[in-house]
């Protein structure tokens, strides 16, 4: 088992398996094996290892809120905080069911950014006014309600990779298959 800085070192086979699973997590070991030209037992071992070391965190279902009949508004909230309180603010936001994602960042000031969901604008405002503004260390808040979504995707193992790196990985697996023969 290879680790780099306490991170499981993934080879090109792992990356290809993750790529396939991220497209469709319901594919069987046999199906993935056929797709990648490998034995299903190899795929099974690899996936179990990725699960064991937390690379694969869970298999979930992505629900389309509109098709599910759940009308919601989503907003991006930037909370400017006192530096000594930013972690606490972020942790408290994490506990709110209205908050989907929380990040911290340093620009000119210390920021906590959060994606927030509410039934309507009034409930969004009530949440921010009653539950966020009163938090100790909150200096001011800027909120933008999302009006149109152009892209939304979860993290993919291939995000951020250039086309040449992707080609290289594809080539590697092709060569590996040749050598195995």
């Amino acid at each position: 088992m290879k680790f780099r800085n306490d991170v499981l070192a993934l080879d090109d086979v792992d990356l290809r398996i993750l790529g396939v699973l991220q497209e469709d997590a319901r594919r069987t070991y046999t199906d993935i094996g056929k797709h990648l030209g490998m034995a299903h037992s190899t795929i099974y071992d690899r996936i179990k290892r990725l699960e064991k070391y937390g690379v694969i965190r869970k298999y979930t279902t992505i629900v389309d809120p509109e098709k599910a009949g759940a009308k919601r508004i989503v907003a991006l909230m930037t909370v400017y905080t006192d530096p000594k309180d930013s972690e606490t603010v972020a942790e408290k936001l994490c506990k709110a069911p209205e908050v989907l994602e929380v990040y911290t960042s340093i620009s000119e000031e210390l920021l906590v950014m959060a994606k927030v969901v509410a039934e309507d604008q009034e409930r969004l405002h009530a949440f921010i006014a009653n539950s966020v503004a009163p938090l100790s260390g909150v200096l001011r808040i800027r909120t933008s309600v999302i009006t149109k979504k152009f892209k939304e995707t979860s993290f993919s193992i291939f995000n951020g990779l250039t086309k040449s790196t992707l080609k290289k990985q594809t080539r590697n697996i092709g060569e590996r298959k040749k050598n195995e023969r």
Binding site: M77, A133, I141
Partner: protein
């Protein structure tokens, strides 16, 4: 007007009960008032946009009524809302009404 109401007007509130000034939905100015005294001070400092935002929503009236439990002042706020005041006229009238209440908490 009872003694309990007087004490609410003059008391310092917890952060949860404070009035938080916003300029629009979810946009907090960073200014808040922990008492009626602070509220009067902040009316003079906060942007007119914030005052207009809260007045048309009835937020001042609601806070004064629910938190300070002062129905007389809430009624005055409601009258201001009906006047459709804007800009510095709104600021001065709001300040006048609130500071008058602060000076005469038992009237």
């Amino acid at each position: 007007m009872n003694v309990e109401t007087n004490s609410k007007i003059l008391t310092t509130l917890t952060r949860e009960k404070a009035f938080y000034f916003f300029t629009s939905i979810g946009n907090y100015t960073g200014m808040n008032a922990l008492s009626l005294k602070e509220f009067v001070e902040k009316i003079g400092e906060v942007s007119v946009k914030s005052l207009e935002f809260h007045l048309c929503r009835g937020d001042f009236e609601k806070w004064v009524s629910d938190v300070l439990q002062d129905n007389d002042l809430a009624s005055e706020m409601r009258k201001l809302q009906k006047l459709n005041l804007t800009g510095d006229d709104l600021r001065s009238q709001l300040s006048l009404v609130a500071s008058r209440r602060l000076r005469n908490p038992t009237v």
